[in-house]
């Protein structure tokens, strides 16, 4: 047999294989999803689609399904499915296109995407639904207000977490080197210089995730340009390429250039960054209060919970912002689909609303937007109580860097910020990239 004939035969076999594969694919497509249920009818199970990184909500819901909500679970069994957070937006898009949204799901980190789901009528109006179930008063008004601020003015997500953000710091290291809690950016830089001289990582953050670094950037922007600085960008009244914004990016780039962040930060993942703090290698760790789960866990926290302090992002001298304005959020929030919000799902919703807050706080050390009695608060670790007091006394909150961005700007922000702090991208280039994304809409 000649090589040419062999090749022709080979090509034919390839074509045959391709045809067979296509036929199989078609057959698989033909047996695809059935018709979606009608408006507000119960599904066969309470499927919860959540990001795989979320270690707080699924364990509490699983405990509920065998405990306080076992009756609801018997009527409508809970099934938790998880996918990586980066794929969640895309997956929700596909499911919406097929009219196959699960009964309960987490929405992507970009609030604009969550608002789109609400505008398309895919989400439950919790103002109305929880009122009818008689449990609206179980939600903290501040959490409802944050959700409305983020998600297009509607109470369309449930506050399974309610966090403020700030800097966790190692009190023992601060005391050892005679450093007071920094009140200004310059004081923070001075403290960082002392720690670096003594071989301690001043500030640990994950560059692999990116957003823990952009939080520093938004922190600086809110302190220097005021709490409405990023709203102005969203409204088109200011641009990220304006002087003040680029100056903020320069300040964060300088942190990296001065060696005040971890070595090889671009590859450092979330757990790795957190462990640097909890093992005592780093003096400060900017994070949301969801980190209390790890901080209050003696197995994870080697420096001891009594040695961990929490402080707001420091002020910028001459800036328009105030140190008391904490960034607040509801984590990566979860919600219920309107099409499957039938009586059994409503029963689950009621049970969750009545019990989640306390179970989440006691079992996971996570603060949620569901109300918890004063007696339960009094039994919590000191740091958790301290954070709760800060939340309760806060009069004005701010958002975070990507909160009002579109999906592309959000992703470009967290993916490119490691380049900013490692000198591979200039502050001007970084801000220009994001402004181009915002201009493209």
């Amino acid at each position: 047999m000649t090589t040419a004939r062999q090749r022709r035969l080979g090509r034919r076999s390839l074509a045959l294989a391709a045809t067979a594969t296509s036929a199989l694919l078609l057959a698989a497509c033909a047996a695809g999803p059935t018709e979606p249920p009608a408006e507000g009818t119960d599904p066969e199970k309470l499927e919860y689609l959540v990001n795989v990184e979320n270690g707080n909500i699924p364990p509490v819901l699983e405990d509920m399904s065998t405990g306080v909500c076992s009756a609801e679970n018997e009527d409508l069994p809970l099934e938790i499915n998880s996918i990586p957070q980066a794929d969640l937006d895309g997956q929700i898009q596909l499911l919406v296109g097929q009219d196959a949204l699960p009964a309960m799901f987490a929405a992507g980190g970009t609030p604009a995407e969550g608002a789109k789901l609400w505008n398309a009528g895919k989400l439950v109006d919790f103002d109305e639904a929880l009122d009818e179930l008689g449990v609206l008063d179980q939600i903290e008004p501040a959490a409802i207000s944050t959700i409305k601020q983020l998600y297009g003015g509607a109470f369309s997500f449930l506050p399974f977490q309610y966090n403020i953000e700030g800097i966790f710091y190692n009190k023992a290291l601060f005391a050892e080197y005679g450093i007071e809690e920094p009140q200004t950016w310059d004081e923070l830089l001075a403290a960082s210089a002392t720690f670096k001289e003594n071989g301690i990582i001043p500030l640990t953050a994950s560059g692999e995730q990116g957003w823990p670094i952009t939080r520093l950037l938004s922190g600086y922007i809110f302190r220097s340009l005021g709490p409405d600085a990023l709203q102005k960008v969203a409204d088109g009244e200011a641009k990220l390429t304006d002087e003040g914004y680029v100056e903020a990016a320069q300040a964060i780039a300088d942190l990296g250039a001065s060696g005040y962040l971890n070595d090889n930060i671009a590859s450092l993942d979330y757990d790795g960054a957190q462990n640097e703090f909890l093992n005592g290698n780093a003096a400060m760790f900017y994070m949301g209060t969801w980190a209390l789960t790890a901080v209050n866990n003696p197995e994870a926290n080697k420096i001891g919970v009594e040695n961990v302090g929490f402080m707001p992002f420091p002020g910028v001298e001459g800036g328009a912002g105030d140190i008391s304005q904490y960034p607040s959020n509801v984590g990566l929030p979860s919600t219920f689909g309107s099409a499957t919000f039938g009586p059994k799902v409503q029963a689950w919703t009621k049970c969750i609303t009545e019990n989640f807050g306390e179970m989440s706080l006691v079992d996971q050390n996570t603060i949620s937007g569901f109300k918890v009695s004063d007696e339960v608060w009094a039994e919590q670790p000191q740091l958790t109580q301290d954070v709760h007091e800060r939340i309760a006394s806060s009069t004005q909150s701010v958002l975070w860097f990507e909160a009002l961005f579109n999906a592309k700007a959000g992703q470009d922000s967290s993916k490119n910020v490691p380049l900013l702090v490692t000198g591979q991208m200039s502050p001007e280039e970084f801000m220009q990239l994001l402004q181009t994304d915002l201009d493209a809409g």
Binding site: L26, D263, N416, L419
Partner: protein, 294 residues
């Protein structure tokens, strides 16, 4: 046979099913996707006519230039690498190794081809890890007095790691492909060349290389075809980062459509990819025609 192929009904019956399937899974989606290039939106918000806005954006979008540049650079380097290293290995199998050792080494080199890409990417992430602890490569560097390198955190080094990983996982296939081609060279030609005094380099230069050109061309075509569509290995190893520096067009298209909810612009990028693939296909057809006349 002639009477069967002369019958129009027979032709329709033979061709019909395949043509129908091809039309349904290839032609219809291509035209459907082409239709999307003139709209903006997604199933959630609905679609609105955008004229040629997506095409205008295609020419002004800096990310397109970067993604296209990465794709071409990757395809070129990988194609050269896969064919050259594969060819070197195949020569090694035939002319250096003994029969049993050759079979063993071939099996070992081919092994990564059957390992799932994600598993290989995880392995390479660990090998080139730089934080919170150094991986084996950085350990070696530090032990010989060099500094630790953030391999996946810098654009240029991340590209090198992608190339090393993808070569490692695919070169076994090309080595076997070219090995099969070399086996086709008749022994008597090599023998007579040796009698005529041809030795290592001259034997390779004047006998082996010219006779293996057809299979080298076939391997090149295979390689270009595969590398221009690179997606899974980059997604699993670097996720397109750091920044967007290792984002190929395929990944940018997928992100634009499904993560950024812009089906229209995503389809426009898909059209650009289609045109690229069409050009490569044209090249393949021309090469194949020339090949048959060899």
């Amino acid at each position: 046979m002639k009477s069967v192929l002369g019958d129009r009904r027979a032709i329709a019956i033979l061709l019909g099913p395949a043509l129908a399937v091809y039309t349904l899974v290839m032609v219809v989606p291509v035209f459907w996707s082409f239709g999307y290039t003139f709209v903006k939106g997604n199933p959630l918000e609905g679609f609105r006519f955008a004229g040629i806005d997506n095409f205008v954006r295609l020419f002004s979008d800096p990310d397109i230039g970067a993604a296209l540049g990465f794709t071409i650079k990757y395809a070129l380097i990988m194609t050269i690498g896969q064919v050259a290293v594969g060819y070197a290995l195949s020569l090694f199998y035939i002319f250096v190794l003994r029969r049993f050792t050759s079979a063993l080494i071939r099996t070992l080199v081919f092994f990564p081809v059957v390992v799932p890409t994600v598993a290989i990417a995880l392995l390479y992430q660990k090998i080139f890890q730089s934080a919170p602890r150094d991986g084996i490569v950085n350990e070696l560097l530090v032990n010989v007095g060099l500094g630790s390198v953030d391999w996946l955190g810098q654009s240029d080094t991340a590209f090198i790691v992608i190339i090393i990983m993808d070569l490692w996982r695919s070169v076994g296939f090309y080595a076997v492909l070219l090995f099969a081609g070399l086996l086709d060279i008749p022994d008597d030609i090599i023998e007579s060349a040796r009698i005529d005094g041809a030795r290592h380099w001259s034997l390779f230069r004047h006998i082996i290389l010219p006779l293996s050109l057809p299979i080298l061309l076939a391997a090149t075509i295979f390689s270009i075809n595969g590398t221009i569509k690179v997606f899974d290995s980059v997604l699993a190893l670097t996720g397109g980062g750091p920044g967007n520096s290792t984002t190929p067009l395929t990944m940018y298209m997928w992100r634009t459509a499904f993560a950024f909810s812009d089906y229209g612009y995503g389809s426009t990028i898909a059209l650009l990819l289609t045109i690229m693939c069409f050009l490569v296909t044209l090249f393949i057809f021309r090469s194949a025609r020339r090949d048959n006349t060899v």
